[in-house]
Amino acid sequence: MRIQVNVNGESREAEVEPRLLLVHFIRDTLGLTGTHWGCDTSNCGACTVHLDGEPVKSCTVLAVRANGHDVTTIEGISSGADLSLLQQGFSKEHGLQCGFCTPGMIMTATALLKSTPRPSEDEIREAISGNLCRCTGYQYIIRSIEWAARQGAPTQVEVMP
């Protein structure tokens, strides 16, 4: 089946089998290997990408399901050496060790900060509860996300009129 997917703002077309999973389309067909392929059972979240702006586990989505839709991968959230605030946060606050979970963590956190610019620690923990990390114990990841939220959010709490 011929599909057309808007990947990181660019229209990409390919002939795929219906059973091809989105994670393999991204990695193998498009060569975007920043999205990691982990547990293959929708548990670990290493394969998290945005489908129409929402974070989803791409090992459990068919590539054909994305036909005509928008997909954003870790390659799409910054350009070259200009890291996004979250990427900077993970660097400054040591949010990664082996790095395997990091692209998925950052995609999930990017969606979180878009909907909740100043999340509480509980909100961060809940948001990343579908992304597993076996190195950091999560504390440094939470600090990394908090760092990015501090940079990106207004210094004063806005009060509704």
């Binding site: 059972t41 929708s42 929402e54 586990k57 989505v61 068919l62 509860s129 579908g130």
Partner: protein, 288 residues
């Protein structure tokens, strides 16, 4: 690498088209909604449909959570997240939000659908148990028209429903909001299926329980309604001794499997403990 076996793929542009495709391809075809139960089962070759009929383009018709004339209507393509974040659900159908907090994780809840959790008919699925407790029915549509099915009658066995192969779920309906409701679950890991879980909803008349509904999951070959425990409660004033009698009855009504999530005795004991807690919370929430 886990990849599903080969299948044909169709996209339905309308509910009628989906029904037409189900009719054309027959029992070896399956609807694909969020796919977060079906695709993992296809990867493991526990399911191998010959045709998948993708209904995600029907969001415009089937993705909604709204209260109309005192009844809650939840479209089959409403995502788990839609239920969890709905203000009317949080306020008036609280046990649905309670249950949703336990279901998988936020990423899965972005894709998984309410209709999918009914049609999949996993005996460990939380939502059917929660909807049973709310006295709900589902609306199904097929070539012969529409019909409603009580949620407790929808699953007829593990992963098996009363739906005909050419019927599609349209929505779940809760006829009236209870005064108080609550859902409790024990899971071995965050986001896992339950060792045992149950929901209770109470419709009060003054300080008496006029109607009680209880739904349970992971403690039988389908999600279950605890009718005997409901009878213990109805017409009575809430108190601890009553809760314990109802819980004892509910534990007798279930038939938990012996599996990695626990022994039948352990799960029955969970039912005893969880129903008392759920009743206490439902009564607290319903107190004027």
């Amino acid at each position: 690498m886990q990849v599903p076996a080969q299948f044909e793929y169709e996209v339905a542009g309308s509910v009628d088209e989906a029904i037409g495709l189900l009719k054309r391809y027959g029992p070896e075809s399956r609807l694909l909604a969020g796919g977060h139960s079906l695709i993992p089962m296809m990867k493991l070759r526990l399911a191998f449909p010959e045709v998948l009929i993708d209904i995600h383009e029907l969001d415009g018709d089937l993705r909604y959570v709204r209260e109309e004339d005192g009844a809650l209507r939840v479209g089959a393509l409403a995502r788990h997240r839609d239920l969890l974040e709905s203000p009317v659900v949080q306020e008036r159908y609280t046990l649905l939000a309670d249950a949703e907090k336990f279901i998988a994780d936020p990423l899965v809840r972005n894709m998984g659908t309410v209709g999918g959790s009914f049609a999949h008919a996993d005996p460990s699925e939380d939502l059917p148990a929660a909807f049973i407790a709310l006295g709900s029915e589902v609306l199904a549509r097929g070539p012969r028209g529409e019909r409603t099915i009580a949620v407790e009658d929808l699953a007829v066995g593990p992963f098996e429903t009363a739906l005909e192969p050419d019927e599609i779920l349209i929505e779940a309906r809760v006829p009236s909001a209870p005064q108080g409701s609550s859902y409790f679950k024990v899971e071995r890991r965050a986001g896992d299926y339950a060792s045992a879980a149950l929901g209770v909803a109470l419709w009060m008349s003054g300080d008496e329980i006029e109607e009680a509904r209880i739904g349970m999951c992971s403690v039988g070959s389908t999600t279950l309604r605890a009718r005997g425990a409901e009878e213990v409660l109805e017409g009575q004033r809430p108190d601890g001794e009553l809760y314990r009698r109802a819980a004892e009855r509910a534990a007798e009504e279930c038939d938990p499997p012996d599996d990695a999530r626990g022994t039948p005795e352990y799960k029955r004991d969970l039912v005893r403990v969880l129903l008392v807690r759920a009743l206490e919370q439902a009564v607290d929430r319903g107190a004027p």
